[in-house]
């Protein structure tokens, strides 16, 4: 990180490091983080690339973090009048037991934003 270009923004710095490490980029990782955090993803059964699994980093052991017992507000915090870059929000829909189909219409995704769907 310290070797990032002196003319690059912090965003461009991290974006380039993610790409050099084989990832898509900052936006993709930030979207995955949002699905992980506000989807309360557990360690077990979570698809690769999501969640906080145990890992190693340069010989250090990183513990897993299981979010399934964490408490998230049922309604996301207000975005105010602007949906600024690198911001997460979410909406929860509950599907009644026994239903096999669910349709939601009128979903608008702002330009430059990513929508990820977590089904639990």
């Amino acid at each position: 990180m310290v070797n990032c270009s002196t003319s690059a923004s912090g965003y461009a710095c991290v974006d380039s490091l993610i790409q050099a490490a084989g990832g898509v980029g900052y936006g993709d990782e930030f979207a995955r983080l949002g699905a992980t955090v506000f989807g309360l993803l557990p360690v077990t059964g979570t698809p690769s690339g999501y969640g906080f699994p145990a890992a190693t980093a340069g010989g250090y052991s990183l513990a897993a973090v299981d979010l399934s017992s964490y408490a998230r507000p049922s309604t996301a915090a207000s975005l105010g009048s602007n949906f600024l870059a690198t911001t997460h929000t979410y909406q929860l829909d509950t599907i009644a037991a026994g239903k096999t189909t669910y349709i939601r219409t009128g979903v608008v995704v702002p330009a430059g934003a990513a929508l990820l769907l977590v089904i639990r």
Binding site: G10, I18, A21, F52, L62, V65, R72, A76, T87
Partner: protein
């Protein structure tokens, strides 16, 4: 700063109860008192420098939670390293959000390995508060939201990237 090895000073301050900071690094202390900076800084800007590579820790807090404040030491040490590597050597400091995220990535990776009780600050002090915040905090616009919320999302992203890419980031 001369081109010689210098001691790093960890200063434990006996602060009043209720002090709301855990530790800090202040770059002014890296300069001699007599150093005269370029405008717009005042010619006496460095007059109160401690003239030492130093960071400061809340001693009252250390007495009650060594793991947490051990993590704070590593956080402030990262700021000291960043200041030398980026601000002094390259004259290009990080954006605030990246400066703080990098310090929290150090806490995530190193703190459990070097504290006697394998303390992990990130889950309960960064990720959990971010979950409970309900989002709506712009990480790169540090300061637009509640400061603790900025730390929460920054620490969460740092820990996420640590597990995805290790020390490559």
């Amino acid at each position: 700063m001369g081109a010689v090895l210098q001691d790093v000073h960890v200063v434990f301050l006996n602060v009043p109860s209720g002090t709301n900071w855990g530790g800090y690094f202040y770059s002014i202390n890296n300069f001699q008192k007599t150093y005269v900076p370029s405008p717009p800084l005042s010619p006496t800007y460095y007059a109160y420098s401690n003239q030492a590579l130093a960071f400061f820790i809340n001693a009252r807090g250390v007495k009650t939670n060594r793991g947490y404040y051990g993590s704070t030491l590593l956080h402030e040490l990262t700021h000291m390293v960043n200041y030398y590597q980026r601000s002094l050597k390259k004259e290009a400091p990080y954006d605030t959000w990246l400066e703080e995220m990098s310090a929290m990535m150090t806490e995530d990776v190193i703190t459990p390995a070097v504290t006697p009780d394998h303390y992990a600050k990130i889950p309960d002090n960064r990720i959990r508060p971010y979950v409970e915040s309900g989002g709506a905090i712009s990480l790169i616009n540090w300061g637009e939201g509640v400061p603790s919320g900025n730390y929460a999302v920054g620490g969460s992203l740092g820990a996420f990237l640590d597990r995805r890419y290790g020390l490559s980031i």
